[in-house]
Structures are given as structure tokens and as C-alpha cells.
């Protein structure tokens, strides 16, 4: 690399050094907008300038080419950096976005690459060589295509940057415009140099030099005039953002500067105002310009516009002087004081409002002493300002407001907070009133409390309404409750009771009652507890006039002093009712009930609101009673209950009378046998004065000791088996040591399926018992006598039979010639003896049988008997006897009769013999037929028929009676003592059989004996 000195490089190097210095200076002030860009711009310009200087200094082609290429670091970046600087600086706080910088940097970058490779393509330099003018040699180039492209691009960037500068000049009016113009000049310099070079007017490229001059000029402009410093920024910021309109007028009366606020006021764009004469610019306000045309200094309030748009300004006019105190212009300031004026106006309005406020307003000092009250306060309290000035609010204080309210009030406001609350205060005339108050402290600028302001409102009405509301709420809740009651379908009495209680509660009337209409009467059904005396009260039209008035009119009937009412009912005297109200309960236009309310506090009359509530309530009650037809069912229920009660009363009464007057001993015991009740009869019976000596004792104590176990066991069994009713007889010993027999019915007393005791109805059966005992004794004696008779008979029979055997035995032996032959007469005599002996024997037998039967000593001996055998045996015994009378004895056995029957053969034979003997006895001719047959599946029968004289119908029933004999004529033919048929009948009965007689006079008789078959005894 070879260099040769040439004087041209000196200014270039200086310019380059200046650029570097500017870069350094700018960098050290890089916080200022645009300063960073200026640093790079200066560096780029310096690179270009120095590069160019070294190119010029280069002695050979290679050196010149190298430095020429290095210049291009500057050449390619300067236009772009210029643009960035201009943009950043003139757009204040906005930087050119990196994205845009990147895009704009593409072409310079390509250019740079092409520069270093131009030998290969010639796009930048097609040819280059050294030209010399004297000892000054320079690189002469023929530029390639891309160079021109880039040149155009570079100019384009420069133009844009310059555009920002021009905008700045438009923008920066007034004092700084000159400096800006200088800047523009600086900016243009490189252009001129470049143009000269490109156009070939001079061989040296002065562009870089121009840039360096531009940079230095800029730097000088910036830093000398502090373009880049805070001052213009602050000035701009303050002036531009100022609310106060500011207009600078130069000495010629033209607008030199105007800020945004003033522009806004004038309503014209800044361009149409600046440099225009004030008179023209402010033509809208001609009256003002005229007024202040020659005024140098002023401070006035002016108004602009009218009506809603009217605005007020504080106009400031002051001269602008330069350093030597010559006036160079005037400064106009316009401060919008519209709001201030409005505030002041509002304050005036407020004070008027305070005066006219419908709320009481009190202002006190920090000690609470009243400084001001408004007229409403006077209207409410009756106190005027002079009366209360300097006093505290205590003059209004009452006991009604709890002390802690005041305490809390003071604690709140003295700590600087606002207090809200309610007081009950007293007016000047002593009347109480409720007011709500908002009390707030007022502070001075130092934050000290200087005043308190109280805004108070009379809320007596509201409170009353609130109370009304509470009553309404209560009414609603009662409605709810009653509706619930209704849903629960409580018993009518409960419902009515609830109504009475609710009514009393609702209307704050301690005395309440509800009367239902029953026929021509109003009947008290439920009442508040303090009116017990009303229980069962029934009133007709003449008695309870007020209630009936309500009933008849369908409207509430009220009195303010019941006690003084001539028609009052004395029943209420003890309650000392004062205010009363009777409300009719209407169902479908009919009054079905009356609700009566009463108060005993003097002066507490029913207010119209309360009456209204009462009407609502009774309407509700009406709905309740109606909606479920409860009223009807209530009436039915009442009637039913009344009837039941009556019946119950009657039956109770009857029962009581029965019990009290019964001859029977009636008592009750608990389940353990302890006596819980006895009727008065017991007193006489037990020989005691009071039931106390019986009550509480165990019933067993009265039982004769020997019987106790037995009796106890009996009733324990009744208890265990739950037998509802028993009868038992036992002896007792009374407290006065009498022994009595009781016949006792005992019923179990149950409660809910549980045995809780016994009720006994006992009768003194001592007399009956004695009779019974006597009877039993008599019976025993009779039985004994009977037994004795039987024994006697048996004895007699034995004692008769034995000798009779001697008579009969010897007589028969004689007759049969066992003791030797007899004469005919002797034989006749012996026959008679034999016959009579037989008669005697049979008579004794009958008597014996009868005796045995009567003594129940006859023992049947059952076994298997053959009817066939029975008949054959009968024939054997009886046919001889029949033949003797010339009669035929016929026996018949039906084949279906079983081969054997279960019976007593001996007695069967006796029955048959008796019947057959009887038949033979009363039959003169014909036959006796004995037949055994089976009349049905379960019975067999013996039938004995004869062809005898027959038995008359009227005598048939008696033939079976002992000692009966038809005709009762003892004839020789049919003698006997008449026991035969009676014994037969008795035997048949004993054997579970039946005997039947069919007979017709002259035709004969048929006896039929029927026995059950197979009866195994």
C-alpha cells in the first residue's frame, strides 16, 4: 500500500475527525432522542470521509481501490442513517421500527457486497483507472448498473429524511425555526457535492465532505442551540400540554406561536393562525381584539360563547421583552375558569339548597356547639337559630335514644368518620319525633376538624310505616302459620285456639276470643288464657251486643272504652277492658264467627291501621274456615262431640248411680290386686265408715284364709289367659269379722291392649249359699235315705226270698211227688201254694229291680250278645206260659240284623220277658209276635206285638210310670203291682235305648225297643 501526500486530504481528514468527535459527543448524550442515530450517522460520514481521504492519498491503483471500497461502508449506510436520525429526532419519542430499518437495509447491504466483488461483475464499477491532474491522482470509474440503482435508492432515503426536516420546520414555529433552517442547509450540502461529482462538473466527489459538514453543522445546531437538549422538549411538553391557552404575538401584531390549548380555543388549525395578524386569527373574538388591541398588560375575566357553551376565561396579557428590555411581542394567556365559576355558582346554589332543604341541617363547631341551623330545623323542632346558637344538640335529647348511640356518634365523628343513625328527639313543644341523621366532620386544610355538619330527616312517619310494615310482616307470617296449621289439619279446637292467640298477638290486644255462630247464639270456642271465665260462654242477640253488631253489619265493631259502655257485659268487668274490637268472620257473605279483641290499657285505642289489619286477619280466618269446609265439619264435629259428651255424661251419671246405689259390691283393683275403688255399698257390707279402710288393700286380705290360694290361682289364671269375664264364689271375712259368701264377676280392664286391672262386681250370696248348703244337706240326706231304702229293700227282699224258697221248694217237691204221692185236693192246695209263691217271687223281683234302679245300683254288664240266642232263650222260657193261655209265641229275626250286638244280655232278656209277659197277660187270644230287626243303619230293635185288649191313647203315656196299671183294677188275670213296664222303660233308658208304644183298643199293642248298634261302652 503506497500513499502520496496531496493537500486535498487535509480538509477531508479534519472533516473525518470532526465526524468522529460528533459521534463520540452524540454517544455520550445518547439518552436524547435522535442522538444514537446521530452517532452512527457521524461514524458513517466519518468512515466515508476518511476512506475518501485515504483513497485520494493512495499512490497506486490497488490502494485507491481498497479505500474506495472501504468508503462504501459509509456510502451505503449514510442515507439510511440520515433517514433514521431524521425520523427519530423529529418524531420525538417514536423510533423507526427495527423491522423497517431491516427492510430498508437490504439494498445497502447488497450494494456493499457488490462493491467488494465488482471486479467480477462490474455492477458497481465497469472500469476503473487512475487519472491524474498534476500530482493529484484520483480513481476514475465508470459506474455500473447497480451503482445507479443504489444512487437512486440513496437519494430516495435522503429525500424522505429531508421531508421530516421540512415537517419539522412547519412544526417548529417561532423562535427555533431559524436553527431548523440551518439544519436543512446542512442536510443539503452533501447533495450539492454529490450532484457536482456525479454530474462530472468536478472530478472530486464532495459528497462525503458535504455529509461531514452536514454532521458538524447538525451537531453544532443541536448542541449549541441545544436542539437535542431537554429545554425545547420541556418547553414543548409544557406549553403543548398546558390547559392554559397561550398565544405569542410579535411586535407586528402577528401570531408567532400558539399552543394546542389556544388552538383548541380558537377552533382553527395552527397553519391558519400562525403568522396571521391577531385580528384575523381571532376574528371570532373581534370584540376582544378590539378591546385589548393596545393594552399591554391585563388580567380579566372574559366570557366566550353563550348559553350552554358559554365559557369563562381569565385573560392574561403581558409584554415579551428581549434581553435589552425592548418589547418584542405580547403573550396572551387564556385560563378556562368556567368550572371555577360553576363551582362558585354551585356553592351559591348549595347554600340556597341548605336554606331550603327539606332535611334539617345543623352545623356545629368542633366542640359541638351549634353555629347554624337551617329553616327546616326550625320547622321540625320549633327552635330558631338564635335560640340554639352556641348550644349543643343535647337540648333535643330524650331517654328514647339509648346513651350508647350518642357515645358511638361522638366516637365516630371525632375520629374523622361519618356517622349514620337514628335518634328519638324532643321538639320545643315536648313532642317526640324520630329522625335519621348523617353527621360528618369538616376539615380545614391542615386536616383538623373545624365543624360538624348534621343532616337530619324526620322519619317519624317512616318509622310508623315501618311499624306498619312489621305488622304486615307479622300478619304474613301468621298467615303462613295458619296456612301451615290448615295443612296440618290440626283439630278444630287447636286451630281456633291458634286463631285467638294470633289475633291477640297481631293486634297487640291481650284479650282475645273467637266465637262461632251456632244457631241463634255465638259460642265462645277459644280464648286467650287470661279469659278462662269465657269457657263455654254462649251469647244470644240481647247479651253480646257488640259481637252481634259485628255479626249483623259484617263490619268491625269497636269501642274506645268498653267499661263505660252502657250495654257492656259484666262478664268482662274483671278484665277491665277499655278498647275493644269485634271482627266478623265472613264465609260466602255469611258471618260464621266473630273474633273479639280487647285491651285494658287506657288510651290505647285501635288505630285505623290496626282495624284494617284485623279485617285482613278475619278475612284470612274466613278463608281458613271456608277453604276446607272446615266450618261445616266443625259444626258437625261440635254437634257430634256435644252429643257424645252428653251421652257420656248420661251414661257416666247412670253408671255412677248404678254403682253408687247398687246392692252389689263393685270395686276395682290394679293388676296386682290392690283395691283402687270401691262403691259405697261396700261400706255397709264391710261394716266400715270410710272407703279408706278398704282402698289400697289387697283383695286377698279379705278372703277366708283357707280359700286364698284357690281364689288367687283362679284370678291369676284369668289374668294369664286374658279371660275377659269370669264368675267365682268364695267366702270372705269382713273387717268386722263377719264371714260372707261372695259371688263375683270379674272383668279385665284393658288399656291399649294391656291389662291394667280388674273390675269386680260381687254380690253377697251368703243367704243363697246357706240355702244351697241346706238343700245340699237335704239332698244328701235324701240320697242317704234313698240308699237306706234300697239297702232295706235288698235286705227285705233277701229276708222274703229265703223263706219263700222254703215254701216254693217244698210245695214244688210235694207237687212233683218227690215227698210221696198227694191226694187230688192236696195237689190242688199245693198248686195254689206254688202259684202264689211264684207271684210273690216276681213281685219281690220287681220291687228289687225298682229299688236298685232308684238307688242307681243297677250295674249293666255289657258284652257281645246274640239276638238269635236271645230269641231262642225267650221262646224256651215264655212259650210254655203262652201255650197255657192258648196263645202263640212267634219269634222273627230279620237277616240283616248283626250276629251279635253289644249289650247286656241279662237285661235284654229281662226287658223281653217283661214285654212278652205283659203281652201274654193282656191278650186273651191270638198271638204274641217278637221280632228283631234293624230300622236303620245305626240301630237295631226288638218289637213285641200282641192281639190283646190294647191301651187307650190317653193312658199310653202313663204305662211306663211305676205302679201304673191301665184301669187300675186289680183283676185276677192281670194282677201285679205295675212295676214291669216301668222297670222295662228304665232299663231301656239305662241302655241308651228308646221304647215306643203303638196301640189301639181291641186290636192290640206293639212295643218297640230301639238300641244303638255297636255301641261299645
Amino acid at each position: 500500500m503506497q500513499f502520496s501526500y496531496t493537500p486535498y486530504i487535509i480538509p477531508l481528514l479534519i472533516a473525518g475527525a470532526a465526524s468522529v468527535w460528533v459521534a463520540y459527543y452524540s454517544w455520550s448524550h445518547r439518552g436524547v432522542s435522535g442522538a444514537s442515530a446521530l452517532t452512527f450517522l457521524a461514524l458513517a460520514a466519518g468512515t466515508w470521509t476518511i476512506g475518501y481521504a485515504l483513497e485520494l492519498a493512495g499512490a497506486d491503483l490497488d490502494t485507491k481501490v481498497l479505500w474506495s471500497k472501504i468508503q462504501y461502508f459509509g456510502v451505503t449506510t449514510v442515507p439510511l442513517l440520515w433517514l433514521i436520525f431524521c425520523y427519530n429526532y423529529f418524531n420525538q419519542n417514536r423510533l423507526l421500527p427495527p423491522r423497517v430499518i431491516g427492510a430498508l437495509g437490504i439494498i445497502p447491504l447488497i450494494t456493499l457486497l457488490l462493491v467488494f466483488t465488482t471486479e467480477y461483475h462490474g455492477l458497481i464499477w465497469e472500469r476503473y483507472f487512475i487519472s491524474r491532474i498534476g500530482d493529484f491522482s484520483y480513481l476514475e470509474v465508470t459506474h455500473g448498473l447497480w451503482f445507479w440503482i443504489y444512487l437512486a435508492y440513496g437519494y430516495f432515503l435522503l429525500i424522505i429524511g429531508t421531508y421530516f426536516i421540512i415537517r419539522l420546520i412547519r412544526h417548529k414555529h417561532g423562535l427555533y425555526r431559524g436553527q431548523i433552517t440551518a439544519l436543512i442547509a446542512a442536510a443539503v450540502t452533501p447533495w450539492v457535492g454529490n450532484f457536482l461529482y456525479i454530474s462530472g462538473l468536478i472530478p472530486v466527489d464532495l459528497t462525503s465532505f458535504g455529509f461531514t459538514i452536514a454532521v458538524i453543522a447538525t451537531a453544532w445546531g443541536i448542541f449549541r442551540f441545544q436542539l437535542i437538549n431537554l429545554v425545547p422538549l420541556a418547553r414543548d411538553t409544557v406549553v403543548e400540554t398546558m390547559e392554559i391557552g397561550m398565544i405569542v404575538i410579535d411586535s407586528q401584531g402577528r401570531v408567532a406561536d400558539i399552543n394546542r390549548a389556544a388552538i383548541a380555543l380558537i377552533g382553527l388549525p395552527a397553519g391558519q393562525v400562525i403568522n396571521k395578524p391577531v385580528v384575523e386569527a381571532l376574528s371570532r373574538w373581534s370584540h376582544l381584539t378590539k378591546k385589548y388591541q393596545n393594552v399591554r398588560e391585563a388580567l380579566d375575566e372574559i366570557s366566550i360563547g353563550e348559553g350552554e357553551h358559554q365559557r369563562w376565561f381569565e385573560l392574561g396579557l403581558s409584554p415579551l421583552r428581549n434581553d435589552d428590555q425592548t418589547v418584542i411581542g405580547r403573550l396572551i394567556t387564556l385560563r378556562d375558569i368556567t368550572v371555577n365559576r360553576q363551582v362558585a355558582e354551585r356553592l351559591r346554589q348549595l347554600s340556597r339548597a341548605v336554606e331550603a332543604s327539606p332535611a334539617s341541617i345543623v352545623i356545629t363547631d368542633a366542640d359541638g356547639q351549634i353555629q347554624y341551623v337551617n329553616p327546616k330545623f326550625t320547622a321540625v323542632t320549633g327552635y330558631t337559630l338564635p335560640e340554639v346558637f352556641g348550644k349543643t344538640s343535647r337540648i333535643l335529647k330524650t331517654d328514647q335514644t339509648p346513651p350508647e348511640v350518642h357515645q358511638q356518634l361522638w366516637n365516630t365523628i371525632t375520629s374523622g368518620r361519618e356517622w349514620h343513625g337514628e335518634f328519638c328527639n324532643r321538639k320545643k313543644n315536648g313532642e317526640l319525633y324520630w329522625e335519621t341523621a348523617s353527621i360528618s366532620p369538616i376539615f380545614d386544610a391542615g386536616g383538623h376538624i373545624i365543624n360538624y355538619v348534621g343532616v337530619k330527616e324526620d322519619i317519624t312517619r317512616q318509622r310508623r310505616m315501618q311499624e306498619q310494615l312489621q305488622i304486615q310482616n307479622k300478619y304474613l307470617s301468621i298467615l303462613h302459620e295458619i296456612a301451615l296449621d290448615l295443612l296440618n289439619r290440626r283439630e278444630l279446637n287447636d286451630l281456633l285456639q291458634a286463631i285467638a292467640n294470633h289475633a291477640a298477638d297481631l293486634l297487640n290486644a291481650p284479650y282475645g276470643e273467637i266465637m262461632l255462630k251456632e244457631g241463634a247464639e255465638l259460642v265462645v270456642h277459644s280464648f286467650t288464657q287470661n279469659q278462662e271465665y269465657l269457657s263455654g260462654d254462649r251469647v244470644g242477640r240481647d247479651t253480646a251486643k257488640l259481637a252481634w253488631q259485628a255479626h249483623d253489619t259484617g263490619q268491625p265493631a269497636t269501642l274506645d272504652d268498653y267499661s263505660a259502655w252502657p250495654d257492656r257485659r259484666t262478664i268482662y268487668d274483671r278484665a277491665q277492658l277499655v278498647a275493644v274490637a269485634d271482627f266478623p268472620v265472613m264465609v260466602e257473605g255469611q258471618c260464621v264467627a266473630v273474633i273479639g279483641m280487647g285491651r285494658s290499657n287506657p288510651g290505647q285505642v285501635f288505630t285505623p291501621e290496626e282495624i284494617q289489619t284485623g279485617i285482613l286477619f278475619s278475612r284470612l280466618v274466613g278463608l281458613v274456615l271456608d277453604s276446607v269446609n272446615l266450618y261445616d265439619s266443625a259444626m258437625r264435629e261440635i254437634a257430634e262431640r256435644k252429643r257424645t259428651e252428653l251421652l257420656l255424661q248420661e251414661s257416666e251419671e247412670r253408671y255412677r248411680q248404678i254403682v253408687e246405689n247398687a246392692n252389689d259390691l263393685i270395686y276395682r283393683t290394679n293388676v296386682d290386686g290392690y283395691i283402687t275403688y270401691v262403691n259405697p255399698v261396700s261400706l255397709g257390707l264391710f261394716g266400715v265408715d270410710k272407703t279408706d279402710s278398704i282402698l289400697g288393700k289387697n283383695y286377698l286380705e279379705f278372703i277366708v284364709p283357707d280359700w286364698r290360694t284357690k281364689v288367687r290361682r283362679f284370678y291369676v289364671r284369668q289374668y294369664l289367659n286374658g279371660v275377659s269375664n269370669t264368675y267365682f264364689e268364695f267366702p270372705i271375712v269382713t273387717p268386722d269379722a263377719h264371714e260372707l259368701w261372695l259371688g263375683q264377676n270379674v272383668q279385665i280392664i284393658r288399656e291399649a291392649d294391656r291389662i291394667v286391672g280388674f273390675q269386680a262386681v260381687a254380690r253377697d250370696i251368703t243367704a243363697i249359699k246357706r240355702t244351697q248348703e241346706a238343700l245340699a244337706l237335704a239332698r244328701d240326706q235324701a240320697q242317704q235315705a234313698s240308699r237306706f231304702k234300697s239297702d232295706l229293700l235288698a235286705k227285705v227282699s233277701h229276708e222274703l226270698r229265703t223263706p219263700l224258697f222254703g215254701v216254693l221248694g217244698y210245695a214244688e217237691l210235694l207237687r212233683d211227688n218227690a215227698l210221696g204221692p198227694l191226694s187230688k185236693d192236696q195237689k190242688q192246695a199245693v198248686e195254689t201254694i206254688v202259684g202264689n209263691s211264684h207271684y210273690l217271687t216276681s213281685m219281690i223281683s220287681d220291687l228289687m229291680d225298682q229299688a236298685q234302679i232308684e238307688a242307681k245300683k243297677l250295674v249293666l254288664q255289657f258284652g257281645q250278645c246274640s239276638p238269635d240266642e236271645l230269641l231262642r232263650s225267650l221262646e224256651e222260657i215264655m212259650s210254655v206260659l203262652a201255650q197255657k193261655k192258648g196263645l202263640t209265641l212267634r219269634t222273627l229275626l230279620d237277616p240283616e240284623v248283626p250276629a251279635t250286638v253289644y249289650s247286656d244280655a241279662q237285661r235284654l232278656q229281662q226287658i223281653l220277658i217283661n214285654l212278652v209277659a205283659n203281652a201274654i197277660k193282656f191278650t186273651k187270644q191270638g198271638e204274641i209276635c217278637v221280632r228283631v230287626f234293624q230300622p236303620n243303619a245305626t240301630h237295631w230293635a226288638i218289637q213285641v206285638s200282641d192281639t190283646g185288649i190294647g191301651i187307650p191313647a190317653e193312658a199310653q203315656a202313663a204305662v211306663f210310670e211305676p205302679f201304673q196299671k191301665v184301669n187300675s183294677v186289680l183283676t185276677r188275670d192281670n194282677r201285679g203291682i205295675g212295676l214291669g213296664l216301668s222297670i222295662t222303660k228304665q232299663l231301656v233308658d239305662l241302655m241308651d235305648g228308646q221304647i215306643k208304644l203303638d196301640s189301639e183298643i181291641g186290636k192290640g199293642s206293639t212295643f218297640t225297643v230301639t238300641f244303638p248298634i255297636n255301641k261299645i261302652g
Binding site: S797, F805, L808, G809, S837, Q852, K857, V859
Partner: protein, 120 residues
């Protein structure tokens, strides 16, 4: 061939006589007048027939009847109870071979007695 032995146990001499006469043609008769005597004799002999009264001195007819029924030796012996007491007689009806209630025909007694022991 000797006649079968019949014991007549009867305290009444007349009745004993009547019964003896009634049966004498067919039976060898022994008449016993009281219970003790009867028991002694019954221990010695085995009669074909016993005519037994119930009312006896010393030992009653009932006791004698019980002794007879309990003695195996006498199991072939037929017993006819012959009493004037219908009640007691009835009581033995099922146990005795025959019960006859006094008075009774001598001819019937003979006939029944013969039939009982298989004599014609």
C-alpha cells in the same frame, strides 16, 4: 258207677234239705252248713258241682267263691251261686257258672244242674 259229688253250702237247713232232695237222684250230696266247714271240705275233695249260698256264718259265700276260683284243683268244678240277695248275686254273675236267685223251683235246679255238668 258212682254219682258225681255235689257240695251244697247252705246255712239254712230247710233250703239245704230242699236242694239235697232236688239233686239227690243225680248227685252224691254233701251238705255243709258254714263257711269254715266248707273250706275244710273243699281242701279235701274235688266236687263236680257246688251249690253256694252267699250269706254264710264264719266265712261268706263270696270268700268261698274266691277260694274256689283260685284253687287249680277245682277248676273243673261248676259253681252255681244260689242266693236270695239279688245285688250280690248279680255281682258274681260273670264269674259263676250260674247264678240262681231264690226262690227257685227244685225241678229247675235239678234240670239246670244236670245240664251244667253234662248229665241228661
Amino acid at each position: 258207677m258212682s254219682k258225681p259229688l255235689a257240695l251244697i253250702i247252705e246255712d239254712d237247713p230247710e233250703i239245704g234239705n230242699i236242694l239235697s232232695i232236688s239233686l239227690q237222684n243225680e248227685f252224691e250230696i254233701e251238705l255243709l252248713n258254714d263257711g269254715n266247714e266248707a273250706l275244710v271240705r273243699l281242701a279235701q275233695v274235688v266236687p263236680a258241682l257246688i251249690m253256694l249260698d252267699l250269706y254264710l256264718p264264719a266265712v261268706s259265700g263270696m270268700d268261698i267263691f274266691a277260694r274256689i276260683r283260685s284253687d287249680p284243683r277245682l277248676k273243673t268244678t261248676k259253681v252255681i251261686v244260689c242266693s236270695a240277695d239279688a245285688i250280690h248275686a248279680d255281682a258274681l254273675r260273670s264269674q259263676a257258672d250260674l247264678v240262681l236267685l231264690k226262690p227257685i223251683s227244685p225241678s229247675q235246679v235239678r234240670e239246670l244242674a244236670c245240664r251244667m255238668i253234662g248229665l241228661s
